[in-house]
Subunit: 217 residues, 2 copies
Amino acid sequence: MDAALGVFREHGFERTTMRQIAVEAGVATGAAYYYFDSKDALVMAFYGRAQEEMRTDLEAKLVCCKTLEARLRTIIAEKFEYFAPNRGLLGALSAHIDPEHPLSPFSEETKPIRDADLKFFEAAVKDSGVKLPREIQPYLPRLLWMYQMGLILFWVYDRSPGQRRTEVLFDHTLKMLLLTLRLAGIPLLRPMNRLAGELLRAAFEDDALDHAPGLPR
Amino acid sequence: MDAALGVFREHGFERTTMRQIAVEAGVATGAAYYYFDSKDALVMAFYGRAQEEMRTDLEAKLVCCKTLEARLRTIIAEKFEYFAPNRGLLGALSAHIDPEHPLSPFSEETKPIRDADLKFFEAAVKDSGVKLPREIQPYLPRLLWMYQMGLILFWVYDRSPGQRRTEVLFDHTLKMLLLTLRLAGIPLLRPMNRLAGELLRAAFEDDALDHAPGLPR
DNA sequence: TCAGTATTTTGAACATGTTCAAATACAAGC
DNA sequence: GCTTGTATTTGAACATGTTCAAAATACTGA
């Protein structure tokens, strides 16, 4: 695992060969497959370990944060900080959107990690005083998780010096997000809320389509 | 090309081998590489042809549409209709987010297609009467293009019967989008507009970071 | 100490995307 | 019809992720 991470960091995921990793680790090629199912599995293992290490870190850091903004900043900043030395490697993970692909952040294989990650956002919303229309509130943690994924994705491929673009993106979108949450209650936006609620139901719930309002086919 | 598309449709992109394609086309394996640089290039060629065929189709269909809503519906519906028989194959295209990957919708290689596609959205915005704050208006076509990409991505992996989920997603997000455009002018949202403008500058402009407001490092 | 079993290690073999030197087909000029 | 240069075709060879049967090693209980 350490050998793999080393070579990945030096040559990138794609250009690293399993034979290189084996040599680096001082074993035969086949030995790597005794401990890791595939080249992808190496990244998965790294991802899992990362999640675990960040969890302990974050639980400590989050006790003093009260507002949703502070909590979100803490969570997401932790990700950036932790992954910074392996930013390139993260590309191997986030490069696949296909939920069928084992390495996809939406796959069955990454579900445990995803669920653990989601807990942070559930905790961040809880007792934060944020109040949304009841048809939207339950989806907020999942939406925030996806917001985070988008940010990380942008960051992974951000080629501006020091990933300055991501900084601006993070700062501005977070402000816009919080502003939106604050505005969500005003009567003018009632139609928007209704649409959003139905949308989220269709996107997230398994039985949503049975009762969805008819649409022109 | 036809041989490839046939086998792709039958067995999927991943599980199709170049040797199969060659056999199907009645040539040697190497011959395929004389006409197509790679397996990916076959998908690219399909993508390019699709764009071209849809262009002529769409130009005809769009003459009678005046409102932005009607135009967007027409453009995006055309995509769904055209790609429906090859929905699975589109997964090979959209599976890669990495802008370095040739098949990514954001890669250098797909830029011509992307630019051609963008023209539809530029045309859709033009003379549609939609008026946005001037710091946002220039980015609207690109935002709409990305909106479309998101929809298509969702659709490609939508496993609900008849891709019903995507229908709801399309309908509701489009309504929300238009509602947002209509609301964008009200004074209450002035701070939102400012944030959005700066954000878009940072995301899209090459020189944006030089003048961006300072952020905590 | 040792036979027997479980675990670990090995390297050859396989599948598949891709490359390439050689063979073949073809067209133009005479 | 022959020559010559270009375009096309071929199939073997290569790189790399992966599998697997056999060998080596570690471990266990008597």
